[in-house]
């Protein structure tokens, strides 16, 4: 079973601060990561490979500022990585065209795995777009996955208190939620072993047979501030603390 896993190297969102002067989020100097959901996608790929053999290729579009993040996925058990450098300001159209193009170039892929969305912008577009470009079915929001010889079965929570079991023939694209598994932590030996695994850097004109143009332009990203009172009631007796809390809620008219 040959598997491609699409991942993104993103800023650690919890570290982002807003620049008070420009009201823009400060993204420089913030640590970067491949989010847990995408590690879960890699983990799921490894489990399938352990059962059926094959090869796992990790794909990412964009400059990877922290190569350790990609090496970690190789240490987990992926076989190879492809880093595709995009033209300037890529949007979802460009990113998914590049991923689909790279998957075509690699050839003979049975399963494409993605996270349900990447954690920075949380659009969830890349998975469905790549599936449409490759003209294959998709199973989104999978919280359970069982690969069989001829088909794959997925469990998905579709909201509205409905859980759906679906099956698909290969090739298929699956987006996973982080509940699907607990991604393994590579051992030191695996980390050292991964040093020799190939990380290929591809330019889009090397494998794309057509030009791709963005369809969206980001005009502005402005910070949203949240003002809170941050009052902690810390009296000697808990009774007094809760009383103060209740009084404050009453004062705000919240107990009427």
């Amino acid at each position: 079973m040959n598997i491609a896993v699409c991942v993104k190297d993103v800023v650690d969102v919890s570290e982002i601060k807003i620049d008070e002067k420009t009201n823009e989020p400060i993204l420089e100097g913030i640590s970067r990561e491949v989010s847990d959901i995408e590690k879960s996608a890699v983990e799921e790929a490894i489990k399938i490979k352990e059962e059926y053999g094959g090869k796992i290729t990790v794909l990412t579009v964009g400059s990877v500022e922290n190569m350790e993040n990609i090496k970690e996925l190789l240490a987990m058990g992926a076989d190879e990585a492809v880093i595709i450098s995009p033209p300037e300001e890529p949007d979802y159209t460009v990113v998914s065209e590049l991923l689909a193009g790279a998957i075509d170039e690699i050839g003979d892929i049975d399963i494409v795995l993605c996270g349900e969305a990447s954690i920075d912008l949380f659009s969830g577009q890349v998975g469905p777009r790549v599936a449409e470009l490759l003209d294959i079915p998709q199973i989104t929001y999978a919280e359970g996955l069982e690969a069989e010889e001829e088909k794959i079965v997925g469990e998905r929570d579709v909201g509205g208190n409905k859980v759906m079991t679906v099956e698909s023939s290969y090739p298929v694209l699956v987006t996973v939620t982080k509940e699907i598994n607990d991604p393994r932590l590579p051992s030191l030996q695996e980390i050292l072993g991964a040093a020799n695994k190939p990380i290929n850097e591809w330019e889009s004109d090397e494998f794309m047979d057509h030009e791709i143009k963005p369809t969206m332009e980001t005009k502005d990203i402005r910070g949203v501030s949240m003002e809170r009172k941050n009052i902690i009631f810390d009296e000697d007796e808990l009774e007094d603390s809760v009383k103060k809390l209740a009084e404050n809620l009453a004062k705000e008219g919240l107990l009427e």
């Binding site: 982002i16 954690i119 949380f122 469905p128 759906m164 099956e167 980001t218 009631f233 009383k243």
Partner: protein, 318 residues
Amino acid sequence: MVLIYSDDIDITKELIAKGKELADETGGKVISTIIGEVDEEAANELIYHGSDEVIVVDAETGEFKADKYAQVLNQLVEKTDSEIILIGSNKNGKELAPRLAVKLETGCVTDCTDLYFEDDALTAERIAYSGKAIAVQTFTSKPYVATIPPKNFDPLPKDESRQGEITREKVEVTETGLRIIDIQEKEIKGVNVEDAEIIVSCGRGFDNKEDIELAEELAGSLRGATIGCSRPVAADLKWLPEDHWIGLSGHKVKPNLYVAIGISGQIQHIAGMRDSETVVAINENEDAPIFESADYGIVGDLYEVLPKLIDAINEEKG
């Protein structure tokens, strides 16, 4: 034309209201679609809420599948010559819209919180970085595809005197390799956290499912507040159904009062409740990030704090 689709009729009505506003600027009509079960009443309902036309697509299309429904909508966009396509941002809508956008070779914005014309181009706003920022994006391609979350726009008032054309369409679709084997529907009374004025929200600080009763008791003292929860409580532990789940990947809420109990306050949770008027946090760890996002906090074991807090609130109410 503005073409509208959601498998949830309440969201469809909200999209119609926004669609009308946009159609007023571009000229043209608002056309809503119902795919699947032919339901005369639902079609009328959409007309009463402002849709100029309703297209009902034959039930043969079957149960929702993103790849198939994208084929349906693609054909309807062409037939109606629609320039704007609004899709409800639930899970189905979010896996459908990007596929449709690829067919239409155009851009798409998911989870728009606002949508307007600026310099003749449709511009969309959406939350970025777990609510720390708003991204403003402009389409440089047409048609425009956007998904809009529930409760973002108010539906127009119902007007039963409104008239509109209801047409049936038969659309050819190719079957794909995907098959639905089973749908388990949990029979539970759904909650609507989006509409709640007070929310008591439970995190992994609770030891087991039964203890959620403590939160329910507090909710009882707070005008029958609605129970919410963090992702792990719904998704991992399954103590509460999905419709209680608040956060980036769950529901976005804006109550007057949000009480977070045993919730650490990770940014993905905050993304769903940051618009709350007043936030109270109860957590045994004084360094829990939830306190940074709270107006009032009590550091302590929820099992000790809750009973006492319930008493204090009841006493305060007299």
